[in-house]
């Protein structure tokens, strides 16, 4: 993976840059010692590392604005960082950049139950947002699997999803407003407690822009009344095709479950070895389907879902009858990634495909993996077609990582070729940057880069991400 050559001029000015940022923020908010910078040299995509020039940890929107203004004046690139949980290298530094971390900005600013929103500083973690309102019977719907650690800032930058987005949508559908600091250091309010945009939908543009259009320091988030209860049902089938057809028929029946999770044979076995969740080992594919509501509502929905499932001759059809059984069913799913770690190192992909192509994509993934001599296991959100193939490899074996990455790129191209996309919820970052031309024509990328021109004319925010370097070269120069 290529990063642009760092500016020697900026590298030479490190002392001045650090001094000026220290004047603005106080010296204890600026990290510039090599040893301490190490913690910021990568995010959760640990294969790629680069130590930044410095790290700053402002505590207020005004401090972010002053720091950004100074960086813009000095021409220093800025890499925004939430909690550093990106799997796409979304906050990978460049050597000549200042990392702007929002980790000190984690206050709740306002909770408004009658209007159903919470306003927070964006360093707050996803789960802490729900934690702040669950006492009153509310929750924040987007639930990325890293929700214990990941920050709202990163959720907004990547438009994060989660297991429950079939019913509740992703971050962009639950974001009502932001305080955005522009690259010039201006503070701008977009959206708020009202429901729709005045003028162009800039909020929609900001969400998912990977920290390249501005830095979001505060956010107004939709909170929802918690459902009265939830219950999963476990189904096992003799083939992925049958499981896929069952998913389609459930959705066609008119019931929208809150989650439909899919695991293939490899994943079921690894998980069962690891977590002992009681999963059936004789099936090729397993579905966990969960519905919400009062006990009566749950009964009515599950009856419909079981009727549909029975038409597909399930080898296992097990409805949870208690809190403990529900926990056991989810335990396996939630430990799946940990369990896969027992099989070796893995790369976690994130393509989305049209639901109707799932069986074909799973079959072709297996063929591709065989051609590379690698193993792929699948656990994913089936209702929305967002795949997470895990490519098992041995990072200590020379060439194995490269082989796994090449297979990953082939699998993502396959997702695009069947009508899907490169990334469903992780973001492009640096990881999928060079595949963008497979999904988008030059004019499509040009339109997106034009948007960047408007918000960040000198292209200093989160450099070397999203757009292939060759395509963005003239603008970055």
């Amino acid at each position: 993976m290529e990063l642009p050559d760092p500016s020697q001029e900026i590298l030479a000015q490190k002392a001045e840059v650090v001094a000026r940022l220290g004047e603005i923020l106080g010296p204890d908010r600026v990290i510039s010692v090599d040893e301490e910078l190490r913690a910021y040299e990568c995010d959760a995509l640990t294969a790629y590392r680069c130590r930044p020039l410095a790290v700053i940890l402002p505590a207020t929107t005004e401090e972010v604005a002053a720091a950004l203004k100074a960086c813009a004046e000095m021409g220093v690139p800025v890499v925004p960082r939430g909690a550093g949980t990106s799997l796409a290298g979304g906050s990978l530094p460049t050597a000549d950049s200042v990392v702007l971390g929002v980790s000190r900005m984690n206050d709740v600013l306002e909770v408004d139950y009658p209007n159903r929103f919470i306003r927070v500083q964006t360093g707050m973690t996803n789960l802490a947002v729900t934690g702040a309102v669950q006492g009153e019977g509310f929750f924040y719907a987007p639930d990325p699997s890293s929700q214990l650690a990941c920050a709202i800032a990163g959720n907004i930058a990547m438009n994060s999803g989660g297991a429950h987005c079939l019913k509740y949508g992703v971050t962009t559908n639950n974001l009502m407003g932001v305080t955005l600091v522009t690259t010039e250091g201006e503070i701008v309010e977009i959206g708020g407690a009202h429901l729709d945009a005045a003028g162009y939908d800039l909020l929609g543009l900001i969400c998912g822009s990977e920290g390249q259009l501005g830095i979001v320091t505060e956010a107004t988030l939709r909170i929802l009344a918690s459902p009265e209860g939830a219950r999963p049902v476990l189904m096992g089938f003799d083939s992925s095709e049958t499981a896929g057809a069952c998913v389609a028929d459930i959705i066609k029946s008119g019931v929208i479950p809150v989650a439909i999770e899919f695991m293939d044979r490899k994943c079921i076995h690894a998980t069962e070895d690891h977590a002992k969740a009681g999963y059936p080992l004789d099936v090729e594919a397993l579905l966990i389907v969960e519905v919400e509501g009062s006990p009566q509502e749950i009964e009515e929905q599950l009856a419909e879902i079981k009727d549909v499932a029975k038409r597909h001759n399930p080898m296992t059809l097990r409805e949870s009858r208690s809190e403990a059984e529900s926990k056991a069913i989810w335990l396996g799913r939630k430990s799946a990634f940990g369990a896969m770690g027992q099989l070796g190192d893995y790369i976690c992909l994130d393509g989305t495909v049209p639901v109707s192509t799932l069986p074909e994509v799973l079959r072709r993934s297996e063929e591709l993996a065989d051609s590379y001599g690698l193993q792929v296991a699948n656990v994913f959100h089936a209702g929305d077609g967002n795949l997470h193939p895990l490519i098992i490899h041995n990072a200590n074996k020379p060439g194995d990582l490269e082989k796994a990455e090449a297979l990953g790129a082939d699998l993502l191209r396959l997702c695009v070729d069947v009508g899907g996309c490169l990334t469903g919820e992780h973001g492009v970052g640096v990881e999928k940057r060079d595949l963008m031309t497979h999904q988008y024509k030059p004019a499509d990328l040009e339109a997106q880069m034009c948007v960047k021109d408007v918000f960040d004319p000198s292209w200093i925010l989160n450099p070397a991400k999203v757009f292939p370097l060759a395509e963005s070269q003239d603008r970055r120069a």
């Binding site: 009202h194 003028g199 939908d201 509502e297 495909v353 929305d384 919820e425």
Partner: protein, 385 residues
């Protein structure tokens, strides 16, 4: 006046490219039913998408619909209904309010971000959009998003296309995430509440776990909508009535009476026909009654409420600035924004139809317009003078 009616996207793109070369302003129309929204456009030609029709992909099991921009909304809804599915955001039909004729199209609906009562539960038009194809002001065909509901590949230009009133691009195709329609819908009504109490009751309902899909207050009726499978809807209606008992006695409506009521709420039927300018305010729901009371101190205004108070419809006299100054003093003080939906062309030319933006946002909006339509030929003046 020249009227362009291209039958393919390529043909449309070359018409726009020619117009850009000659700096010929174009008025973009679909079915023409929302043409009186925004400021009057000074154009030398019209460009209609009405001949770009057809559903290009519909997969009920994937909740995915891809449709060309000129397709009549009624055709789309009929196709969805045949599979028991709906456009989740319940798009408003502007014909009653604007007194317009014709068949609303998908492109016009999206360009005007037409959402209705279900917006508070299922999201707005933009929330259901998952992909677009458009022709920008240079005649370039641009695609963004696609046909899958989870997609974070690159910047999201899809939502930017909702509510741009044809000033950033001419839509040629839109993809949607659709939803199953409810098996059963019940309206719960409380009579005789004052505005402030109605707003409080609507907040109580929206904070309940009963998935309320509509909350409106008009003509001294406060109306709540629940939905679901047969027993589920009944359960929700009963639970909601119990929860709202502190506000007054409730009655239920179902079937045609309920459907007709929500159609009238959706289309702001109460101000259809007749005289007067009509404003649409988007505000923090709990501010609604207070803002209306404050506006009435400076202005004769009738008001009704949707989106649990988050959407206020105001009817005022269509004279002078149609109350713009009084109304916008409130949005300036409390947040939100006001859009002049219906007024004479003279009023709409003289008044800011859309809420003026603060300087940095105005600069960003103007910057986007300059990038997507460098010659300023797409619906010039529609949104800003």
């Amino acid at each position: 006046m020249t009227e362009h009616l291209p039958t393919t996207e390529d043909e449309l793109a070359s018409i726009v490219a020619d117009a850009a070369a000659g700096t010929t302003p174009l008025e973009i129309v679909g079915g023409g039913t929302r043409r009186a929204l925004g400021r009057p456009v000074q154009a030398e030609a019209t460009l209609s998408t009405a001949a770009l029709t057809g559903i290009t992909l519909y997969e009920p099991a994937a909740l995915t619909l891809v449709v060309r921009a000129g397709t009549p909304l009624a055709d789309v809804e009929a196709n969805l209904a045949a599979q028991g599915q709906i456009l989740p955001f319940e798009p408003i039909d502007h014909r009653p309010l604007l007194g317009s004729e014709g068949a609303p199209t998908i492109g016009g609906m999206v360009a005007c971000a037409a959402s209705g009562p279900r917006r508070i539960q299922a999201g707005a038009c933009r929330d259901s959009m998952i992909g677009v194809r458009l022709v920008d002001g240079s005649g370039q065909v641009i695609q963004n998003g696609g046909r899958v509901m989870k997609n974070v590949t690159g910047y999201d230009l899809v939502k930017l296309m909702a509510g741009q009133y044809g000033t950033l691009g001419v839509l040629t195709e839109v993809s949607f995430k659709v939803l199953p329609g409810p098996a059963r819908t019940i309206s719960v009504v409380i009579d005789g509440l004052e505005d402030a109490m109605a707003v409080a009751a609507m907040a109580e309902a929206m904070g309940s776990p009963f998935d309320v899909s509509g909350a409106a207050h008009l003509n001294a009726e406060t109306v709540f909508r629940v939905h679901g499978m047969a027993d589920q809807a009944g359960y929700r209606a009963a639970q909601l009535a119990r929860r709202l008992s502190q506000f007054g006695a409730t009655r239920e409506l179902e079937g045609e009476a309920s459907q007709d009521l929500w159609r009238r709420i959706r289309d702001c039927d109460v101000y259809a026909g007749g005289d007067g300018a009509v404003w649409r305010l988007s505000v923090k729901p709990s501010d609604a009654a207070t803002m209306v009371a404050a506006i009435r101190e400076g202005l004769d205004a009738e008001a009704c409420y949707d989106w649990a108070g988050g959407l206020i419809w105001l009817r005022v006299a269509d004279q002078g600035d149609a109350g713009a100054q009084v109304i916008r003093a409130q949005t300036a003080a409390r947040g939100g924004h006001a859009t002049l939906i219906r007024a004479s062309a003279a009023t709409r030319a003289a008044v800011d139809v859309f809420e003026p933006e603060p300087t940095p946002l105005a600069r960003i909006s103007a910057g986007l317009r300059a990038k997507f339509d460098p010659r300023g030929i797409l619906n010039p003046g529609r949104m800003r003078a």
